[in-house]
Symmetry: C2
DNA sequence: TCCTTTATTGACATTGTGTAAATAGACGCA
DNA sequence: TGCGTCTATTTACACAATGTCAATAAAGGA
């Protein structure tokens, strides 16, 4: 007696992958990526540790997959950047930053995991930098150029450098505030970012 | 024949520590922190791998020690922040940012290693955040408050939030530019940062 | 009922970490 | 010069986490 082992359950590959990803996201809700091990994630599923490697290359593979899954949401956001042109562009700064802040709050644990994993994995560093940072930075640069062409923004602005700096600021600052604690008051956070963006881009107050 | 092993050499603890730190810094000059292993570092010294643990707790210990060693340089820089008050404060922005940029260029590999190691080690994360970021952010916040009291800066500015955001921007942007490649032209980098700082803090262009 | 397919696992090889007992330079002293 | 102590250093080991592979057992079709 007592030697009966739990019978295997067989899932579809899609279900297994979902189960593992769900376990990982749950884990990341209260512990940082650096503490995530394959063993601990798989202990939260009905699968054994080696099963993990049938679906992901390594623990960074989890983050890579998660990053793909938020791709569409990101696309929505940077469409917002590009469409808010013309005379209403200035008014759109706050609204856009509110949207971005909401995204960083809603997806906090995931985004923090991505940022952390980027330090430890070349490929995620690349995906993060080019699929996220640069993408936004280019959209902003483009908009600055447009604003300059329309006489709305100072031609003295180094469009590319300023665009990248503003995007990096926004990313780090939101990771540090709303992503760390989605309960905090957004108002002063968005207010501070809006002030910096507006004063930088539109010169006089 | 052929079985003579290299004789042990005995160093003073100070010399051994210096030798290990030197090996680690050399390593970091062309490879990222994520690839640094105790074995590889010690292979660049005349010591065996276990000797490492007589001087450092783990590979993060290397970075902790390096961080202590740049402490004095950092102190010089943030004294600069605080002293440049009064009427010349605005003119001092560019000069200060030039100094900070030079620091990020000179200490690029080390600072990048610190930033990377902070993702993987709770204590370095703390040291980095409180010993560096917060320290600068508080100095800036203080200066904004002073500027507001003197009527030089808009009282509408959220001093604390804006201070933190500007510092995070400067750190990330410099890590991404001059620390990655100390050969690049500083001019546009410093120019972009100066523009953002000045427009944010001093309102009209 | 048997057979094929393939999701899953047990067992193993590997890599990097961290520790402790054993070894051997270096220095002080007779 | 030789002896003994101190401690820097290494050899040998235990451990944790990773990643692989051949063997196993569900599930579905013939």
């Amino acid at each position: 007696m007592g030697d009966e082992r739990a019978p295997r359950r067989r899932r579809s590959p899609e279900e297994a992958e979902r189960e593992i990803l769900y376990a990982a996201e749950t884990f990341l809700q209260d512990r940082p990526f650096r503490e995530l091990t394959v063993e601990e994630v798989m202990a939260r599923t009905g699968l054994s540790r080696p099963a993990f490697y049938a679906y992901f290359r390594d623990r960074y593979g989890l983050v890579r997959r998660m990053l793909e899954h938020v791709g569409s949401e990101l696309f929505e956001i940077d469409r917002g950047w590009l469409e808010g042109v013309g005379e209403n562009s200035r008014l759109g700064v706050r609204a856009t930053l509110e949207g971005v802040a909401a995204f960083f709050a809603r997806r906090g644990p995931l985004l923090r995991a991505v940022a952390d994993a980027a330090c430890g994995d070349r490929e995620i560093e690349r995906l993060y930098r080019f699929g996220l940072i640069e993408r936004f930075a280019e959209a902003v640069t483009e908009r600055i150029r447009k604003g300059q062409a329309e006489g709305e923004m100072s031609p003295a602005l180094e469009a590319e450098a300023v665009g990248l700096a503003l995007v990096l600021m926004t990313e780090r600052y939101l990771l540090d505030t709303v992503s760390r604690d989605p309960e905090i008051d957004f108002e002063p956070v968005v207010e501070a970012l809006t002030t910096i963006w507006e004063r930088t881009l539109y010169e006089s107050d």
